[in-house]
């Protein structure tokens, strides 16, 4: 009898426990408590709208890793891959086309009256050495720089990825190291020539008369004509531009943050492309474009007729200061008895 009661008590206890368990079970189908513990926390879109980046605090020494989202990288990519090739293509190919047209339509600018056979010193050895230093550096800088922008479209399909990568690594070092003689050279020429490159009324007349290139007038000029002075100042300004932006690129994140680096690259590339266009015109006029022009930088001595035609006032100055031109041919021969 006691056994049966015990078993019945056990059954009741079990049922009671079961009922308790069922009653206390969480009702899973109910809506959960929507208390958002992160209610006051920032949202991604909010940060992007206000600061255009998502930046916090990390635990590693690399502080630029604390920026975890900077969507302006996409804008930089759009400029670098979308707009810059067009800018470069238009400026450089456009310069070549314009120069070709000029060559075929206007032709080479001849020395009027032909060469006299007498020469006068125009550029000293120091000036020429510095000029050629910057000229060679510029060609290296230009070609290696264009390799970054156009190499993968133009050169990579021709030589394949391995050769192109090896060339590009070498090109990167050539570019970085050639920048030093270039900037120093421009600085030296600036110091040597700045006093002769201030604009005067003579230059205004030179521009008005087309510099002798457009039309056939003969405006006089001192050592540097208006066009050369313009080139001088454009070169100095462009060099300052590429040198400063280039310095920032050479020492990444030393001067600025990622937005600054992206801006440096854009400034560097755009100025460089325009610079290349400008120098193509300079190379043209100094080689093909003008008879007797190259000798100025080649040997330093220019034909007297060329000098009188293009830099008449400078010739007067030089002769007036006793810097003689070489005597006429035949005059150094045996003097008349």
């Amino acid at each position: 009898m006691a056994m049966v009661c015990a078993r019945i008590r056990l059954c009741f206890a079990a049922i009671a426990l079961l009922l308790l368990a069922v009653a206390a079970a969480p009702v899973a189908a109910q809506q959960p408590n929507s208390v958002n513990p992160n209610g006051s926390a920032v949202q991604e879109q909010q940060l992007l709208d206000q600061l255009h980046r998502v930046q916090g605090l990390g635990t590693i020494p690399d502080t630029k890793s604390y920026v975890i989202e900077q969507p302006q990288g996409r804008e930089w990519r759009l400029f670098h891959e979308g707009y810059l090739p067009w800018i470069g293509g238009v400026v450089i190919l456009g310069a070549i086309v314009v120069l070709l047209l000029f060559y075929f339509i206007r032709g080479v600018i001849r020395i009027e009256g032909g060469r006299s056979g007498r020469t006068i010193l125009r550029f000293t050895a120091v000036e020429r050495l510095t000029h050629w230093t910057i000229a060679i550096s510029f060609v290296i800088l230009g070609l290696t720089g264009l390799n970054i922008s156009f190499g993968k479209s133009l050169l990579l399909p021709l030589i394949g990825p391995d050769a192109f990568s090896r060339w590009s690594i070498a090109a990167k070092y050539l570019h970085d190291y050639s920048s030093i003689p270039f900037v120093i050279g421009v600085l030296v020429l600036f110091l040597l020539w700045v006093r002769q490159n201030f604009f005067t009324r003579v230059d205004l007349r030179w521009f008005q008369e087309g510099g002798g290139m457009v039309g056939h007038k003969h405006p006089p000029a001192y050592k540097f004509n208006g066009g050369q002075k313009l080139l001088f100042w454009l070169v100095v300004l462009a060099t300052i531009g590429v040198a400063l932006s280039g310095f920032s690129l050479l020492f990444p994140f030393y001067l600025t943050n990622i937005l600054g680096m992206q801006t440096s690259e854009i400034v560097h590339a755009v100025i460089a492309m325009l610079f290349i266009g400008l120098i193509l015109a300079h190379i043209y006029i100094g080689t093909l474009g003008m008879e007797g022009g190259f000798e100025a930088m080649g040997t330093g001595d220019v034909d007297l007729n060329w000098a009188k035609q293009h830099h008449a006032l400078w010739v007067e100055q030089e002769l007036g200061q006793g810097r003689a031109a070489t005597p006429p041919a035949g005059a150094a021969a045996t003097p008349a008895e």
Binding site: P37, V54, G58, P161, S168, K172, F251
Partner: protein
């Protein structure tokens, strides 16, 4: 084919850095390189939030687009990888990347950065799968063994999810529905041009 993505649930990340440690260990990442990192927003203030970030393996990856030597490629699983043999260390991929994924081992003269290194989704690189040379250059190749990246596998709170984009988006949506809140998939709009509707 699966389209692999990462999703960091910013409401669950506790900044334990297990993902960072797992990645560094599994891939033998050299000192100074941080393929994955955890960043805390509003540290110490109410509404503090942590996010784990590595490469997002973007659709139309900007890094691949700006590379001057085209050393990037995208696998069939939409993982963005690159070749260290072709890389010239110019740093452009870092300027373009919205997430700061590319890392460079050297701080040398004239910004000579060395070969770029980044999260590979534990997929290795162009060398043959599961060879010693691939491991030495790029780290583990788990994907070819059918495994997911170790960072997500090791996440202590399962806030970092890795896998097919649709699957992890669904996991996240279910999670948000169940708990009632969610701050969205951070970085998805920038990387994949899509958001998860919650």
């Amino acid at each position: 084919m699966a389209r692999m993505k990462f999703l960091c649930d910013a409401d669950r990340c506790i900044e334990c850095n297990a993902c960072v440690t797992a990645c560094k260990n599994e891939n033998e990442v050299p000192w100074g390189i941080n393929r994955r990192r955890v960043v805390t927003l509003n540290d110490g203030k109410p509404g503090e939030r942590s996010v784990s970030m590595a490469c997002m393996h973007c659709t139309d990856a900007p890094c691949a687009s700006v590379c001057p030597v085209n050393c990037f490629y995208t696998t069939a699983d939409a993982v963005v990888l690159h070749s260290k043999d072709l890389c010239i260390g110019c740093g452009y991929c870092f300027y373009a990347c919205p997430f700061g994924a590319p890392q460079y081992p050297r701080v040398g003269n004239f910004g000579s950065r060395g070969k770029m290194d980044k999260c590979t989704y534990c997929t290795g690189g162009p060398e043959p799968d599961n060879t010693a040379v691939q491991y030495a250059k790029y780290g583990a190749d788990r994907l070819s063994q059918g495994k997911l990246p170790l960072c997500a596998e090791m996440c202590s709170t399962k806030s970092l999810l890795a896998g097919d984009g649709d699957i992890i988006a669904q996991i996240y949506k279910d999670r948000v529905a169940k708990r009632g809140y969610g701050s969205g998939a951070w970085g998805w709009q920038t990387a994949y041009r899509e958001t998860i509707a919650t």
